[in-house]
């Protein structure tokens, strides 16, 4: 499999994620969504990306996860240029190194809470009793241990999003990507979810990117960038 392991001759990249000169446009006759984007995200860092609808926030997230290909530039995840990997290799990298939280939760209704959370461990082939231990720890960390044997359809939106967060972090990914994770939640659940996300990113010593419209949500991050036609810029205090 090409490119999974960085060249041992190189100095290890301290950044979890690095964007170099990244450009993307949907079609040649339309303007670029962004051009020459540069970004570095270090271990333990929690970044929020804001922007108006249609500016390309989700496209950026997809490029970071290897779900989409840039027109030019590179995405280096753990020092690996993911544009050089084939579909299987990028999937395996994503499986190990990335955790996702979606706006619409996307938990499997036919699996129990415990089974949903353990999915990434099952995909990675983590054997028992390690699998159960890590799942139980994660369930406890997000506060839904008593619900382990219940099904998602029986739970509230806030509880389901906790399942999604636990699933995103149970395998200790280097990078957590959260796309509008509070978009479907009430303010109280949203605040709890954001606090949980931040705490878990820090606790797992990875890095995290939160895509959001909400300034309040963005302010839970260590730093906030705004995506617009000019690229990624820091949020001005008067924002």
């Amino acid at each position: 499999m090409r490119g999974l392991v960085p060249d041992p001759g190189l100095v290890p990249d301290p950044a979890v994620l690095r964007l170099e000169n990244l450009s993307k446009r949907y079609s040649p006759d339309r303007p670029a969504i962004f051009e020459r984007l540069e970004l570095e995200l270090r271990q333990g860092e929690y970044l929020a990306v804001m922007g108006e609808s249609g500016v390309g926030k989700s496209t950026l997230l997809n490029l970071l996860a290897g779900l989409d290909q840039p027109d030019s530039g590179r995405v280096l995840l753990e020092g690996v240029d993911i544009s050089t990997l084939d579909d299987d290799a990028v999937t395996l990298l994503r499986r190990r190194a990335v955790g996702f939280v979606f706006q619409a939760f996307h938990v499997l209704p036919y699996l129990s809470v415990e089974q949903n959370v353990a999915l990434p461990l099952d995909l990675l082939g983590v054997a028992e009793p390690e699998r159960s231990r890590r799942t139980a720890l994660m369930l406890a960390a997000v506060g839904i241990a008593p619900l382990a044997n219940r099904y998602a359809r029986e739970l509230s939106g806030g509880e389901v999003q906790r399942i999604a967060i636990a699933r995103a972090l149970v395998h200790r990914p280097r990078l957590l990507l959260a796309d509008e994770p509070t978009g479907n939640l009430d303010p109280r659940s949203a605040a709890q979810t954001l606090a949980l996300l931040r705490a878990q990113v820090k606790a797992n010593a990875g890095a995290g990117i939160l895509i959001t419209h909400s300034r309040a949500a963005a302010e839970t991050a260590d730093r906030v960038l705004v995506l617009d036609a000019g690229g990624l810029k820091p949020l001005r205090p008067d924002g």
Binding site: L67, R96, A104, H106, L108, P120, L123, R153
Partner: protein, 844 residues
């Protein structure tokens, strides 16, 4: 809300939903419409062909019976003509017409020609439609050795006026001159018309008749006269109502026709299951939209009516197409094939489709109603679902559904078992079919609970692909049941039919082996009344070189009950012991002592139709006298559904003095050449080419070929049903795959490989279809017991030994499982063709 406004509202909702469905999945709706069309077309075609043949048959019989009030019928070899004189003088009788009605053998042909010998003047009164055509030339009929032919017979025999027609009498040909051809409208079937004296002379029946038509004076009670006359007639001569004559073909073929119709209905019901499955899945997919409609103020009743209306719309379109297709198929069958659909007793030349708007409308309504029934359950379930719950998501509480359906399922299974024990109604296995329907529906209703229980037993394998597949199936029992229903129904019916046909074939083959122990078989044209071998002819045949042994048989028709078709009497075996040894006996008892009544061995049809049992005494009218026989055994006969009785040659000769024979079995000397022996046998007669001679091996092969051809239509209908069932599975797979796009997208996000998702879908497909196929096999085997032991027995009055075509079923099962897995994979690939990013953004 006022009634008109409410119905307008329901109509608008119906239109909106239907148009949305049509836009979203036109191909699926088209296939569903075609499935209904196919069922309706098959039903309509079978009905039209059968009714055309029956109509033609009825018309022909009506022409033969004419204006008679009572028909006096004797055995084919006839009764003395003095009976005619006696009846003609009866005070109640206005007109009596003597008839000699014979199926005449023709040299070089396998079939026979029906010939009526009549008194032209008397027949002109009683059968004006038949004789009127000859008109002024009536006197010409008196010419010796001359015959009029119906136009169908003339065409068939390629004869014209003035040509010569050769007929076989005994083993010798005789020549008749064709006096004229009856016009086409006179009689549509093949018929020869002769003067009675000329017929008696030609066919060696001097002084004998076998039918007298009577018209009574006005004011007589016809039924009372017929009953009283029946008591005065000699043994073997019966007084029959004309209606019975006309209805005989209808009665004799009823079970066969009903069975064909039932097969056609299988396709229609499978189509209904397809509607059920399509609508259920479509309701599941649209549950949030439907809940939204409910939230916006659409009443439960409006929603239910609109959804049933969707099914009805499919039914209307399918039924309309089906009726047109049925008309075209029936027309093609009647134009290019005979109208008997495999049953020789219904062969009627010149049959054509009559426009029958009412039955066709009935088929149209049936298709529409069946489709609406298919849509009813999902519509009811959707209307009952609380909108809040549907808006939140979830497939509904299938534990409740499973509990309810289990109760109904068990009740139906018990009812099915009880119904299978009930007897036939007017010779029709009505309760047998009801049992099949009850068992089928009962078994389908048990699918949810069995799936829940079965999947609960499935152990965790720690293989994420398999475990996720099992979990998906376990939590979506409703969906699994829906996708399984159509394949379980169609596959179990196919299994049942395959087991029944295989059992029948094995029993038939075994029966042939028992009946054909000799090297060669020979006979005069089948069903002929005029061709036979005298004792001298038999001696000539026995003297042919190369033959080590030859055994002759005499077969003839006996009318035991005027309402039924004649039974076949077979005289075979020199002695009773020899006769018993040659038969495929199912039940037997020790032969009676020689001082008692002679033994007779009856076929199962005699047992079922006439109620005779082992040890019963039966009176057979032979040579004008009644002879008593004791039933010494019951044997299996697949050749004559109307019944056959075997007695020893010795007993036959003693009762009738008739030493003639018309069938024989030949054992060859070691090393003798069969072809040379055949030539030698034919050379013994002037028209030896009319002898049917076949080696037993060839006869067996030919019989099995005919058997396979007769069941080809069954296989075709069943294959169609399975294809429809598989289509249902495919729809279910593609619907669920589409509904799970977001799930696949999420799994791709968290690192599941494409091939793992495909593997998961394949596992689901294999698990579902393996369950469906396994269940279908078990259910099909249970249904085959009803087919073999109840429906077959009650329809055709013969038994079959159960045999399971294990290899064929295994291959078919594996093929179906593979097809279902491929369908699941294909549907999954199609659903995954949309990118994972887009999929997770859809909030269903």
């Amino acid at each position: 809300m006022s009634a008109p406004r409410a119905s307008r509202g329901a109509f608008l909702i119906w239109r909106v939903l239907l148009l949305a469905q049509l836009r979203e999945s036109p191909a699926r709706l088209l296939v569903t419409v075609l499935a209904i069309a196919l069922g309706v077309a098959l039903g309509a075609a079978v009905y039209l062909v059968n009714s055309a043949a029956l109509n033609e048959f009825g018309l022909a019989t009506k022409r033969l019976v004419g204006e008679a009030d009572v028909i006096v019928r004797g055995p084919r070899e006839g009764f003395p003509e003095q009976l005619f004189t006696r009846l003609a003088r009866d005070a109640a009788v206005n007109e009596a017409s003597p008839v000699l009605e014979l199926d005449v053998a023709l040299p070089g042909r396998r079939d026979t020609l029906k010939v009526l010998g009549v008194d032209p003047f008397r027949a002109a009164t009683l059968q004006p439609a038949l004789i009127g055509d000859i008109g002024g030339a009536l006197f010409t009929l008196f010419q010796r050795d001359s015959i009029y032919l119906s136009s169908s017979a003339a065409q068939d025999l390629k004869l014209r006026r003035g040509d010569e027609l050769q007929v076989l009498v005994g083993s010798s040909p005789k020549t008749l001159r064709v006096l004229g051809i009856l016009s086409e409208g006179t009689y549509s079937q093949a018929l020869g018309l002769m003067d009675i004296a000329s017929a008696q002379w030609t066919f060696n029946q001097l002084g004998r008749l076998n039918r007298i038509d009577l018209r009574l004076n006005t004011g007589n009670d016809v039924d009372a006269f017929r009953r009283a006359l029946g008591l005065r007639l000699p043994a073997g001569v019966l007084a029959v109502a004309p209606q019975v004559e006309r209805d005989r073909a209808v009665t004799v073929t009823r079970a066969y026709r009903v069975n064909l119709n039932m097969l056609a209905l299988v396709a229609l019901w499978t189509g209904a299951f397809l509607v059920f499955s399509t609508q259920s899945l479509s309701v599941l997919r649209r549950r949030r939209s439907l809940a939204l409609l409910r939230a916006l103020g659409v009443t439960r009743g409006q929603l239910q009516r609109a959804l049933i209306g969707e099914g009805a719309a499919l039914g209307v379109a399918g039924s309309f197409l089906g009726v047109l297709l049925g008309l075209a198929v029936a027309d093609a069958v009647l134009s290019f094939l005979t109208g008997d659909l495999g049953n020789g007793q219904l062969r009627a030349a010149g049959a054509s489709i009559r426009a029958a708007p009412l039955p066709l409308f009935a088929f149209f309504v049936m298709g529409t109603v069946v489709a609406s029934i298919g849509a009813w359950w999902p519509a009811r379930a959707a209307a009952r679902q609380p909108p809040a719950r549907s808006l939140k998501g979830g497939d509904g509480d299938y534990a409740v559904v499973a509990r309810r359906s289990t109760y109904s399922g068990v009740v139906l299974l018990v009812a099915g078992a009880a119904l299978s024990r009930l007897p036939a109604v007017h010779g029709l296995p009505v309760f047998g079919y009801a049992a099949i329907a009850a068992l089928l529906f009962g078994a389908v209703l048990l699918v949810p609970i069995l799936t829940v229980k079965g999947l609960r037993l499935a152990p965790r394998t720690r293989r994420i692909v398999l475990d996720t597949a099992v979990a998906q199936l376990r939590e979506n029992v409703g969906l699994s049941t829906l996708s399984l229903a159509s394949i379980i129904v169609s596959f179990s019916l196919m299994v049942a039919m395959a087991i029944m046909v295989y059992s029948f074939r094995m029993s038939f083959d075994h029966w042939l082996g028992k009946l054909l122990p000799a090297d060669m078989q020979l006979r005069e044209p089948f069903g002929s009344d005029t061709a036979y071998w005298s004792a001298a002819d038999q001696a000539k045949l026995a003297g042919v070189p190369g033959i080590s042994r030859i055994e002759f048989r005499r077969t003839r028709q006996l009318l035991l009950d005027p309402a039924r078709a004649p039974v076949t009497l077979i005289a075979r075996g020199a002695t009773s012991a020899e006769t018993a040894a040659e038969l495929p006996l199912l039940q037997t008892r020790p032969l009676p002592p020689p001082s008692k009544a002679e033994p007779a061995w009856i076929s199962e049809a005699l047992q079922d139709l006439y109620g005779y049992k082992l040890g019963s005494e039966i009176d057979l009218p032979l040579a004008g006298r009644s002879h008593r026989f004791t039933v010494a055994g019951i044997w299996r006969d697949y050749a004559r559904t109307t019944g056959a009785i075997v007695i020893s040659h010795q007993a036959y000769l003693a009762a009738t003095g008739d030493a003639s024979a018309n069938e024989g079995s030949v054992w060859l000397n070691t090393g003798a050449n069969a072809a040379l022996t055949e030539t030698a046998l034919r050379s013994r007669f002037a028209r030896g080419d009319s002898l049917e001679i076949l080696t037993s091996t060839a006869l067996r092969e030919r019989s099995l070929q005919i058997f396979d051809r007769a069941f080809a239509i069954t296989y075709a209908l069943e294959a169609i049903a399975v294809i429809i069932g598989l289509t249902g599975v495919s729809f279910a797979a593609s619907s669920t795959a589409l509904a799970r796009r977001a799930e696949f997208g999420m799994l791709r996000h968290i690192g599941m490989l494409r091939r793992q998702i495909v593997g998961m879908l394949a596992s689901e497909g294999i698990l579902t279809s393996a369950f469906g196929v396994g269940y279908g096999l078990a259910l099909g085997t249970a249904l085959s017991l009803v087919l073999v032991y109840v429906i077959n027995r009650q329809s055709f009055n013969w038994s079959i030994d159960l045999a399971i075509p294990a290899w064929e079923l295994a291959i078919l099962s594996v093929t179906l499982i593979a097809a279902a897995a491929v369908t699941a994979i294909w549907s999954g690939r199609a659903a995954m063709s949309q990118d994972a990013v887009q999929a997770v953004r859809e909030d269903w």
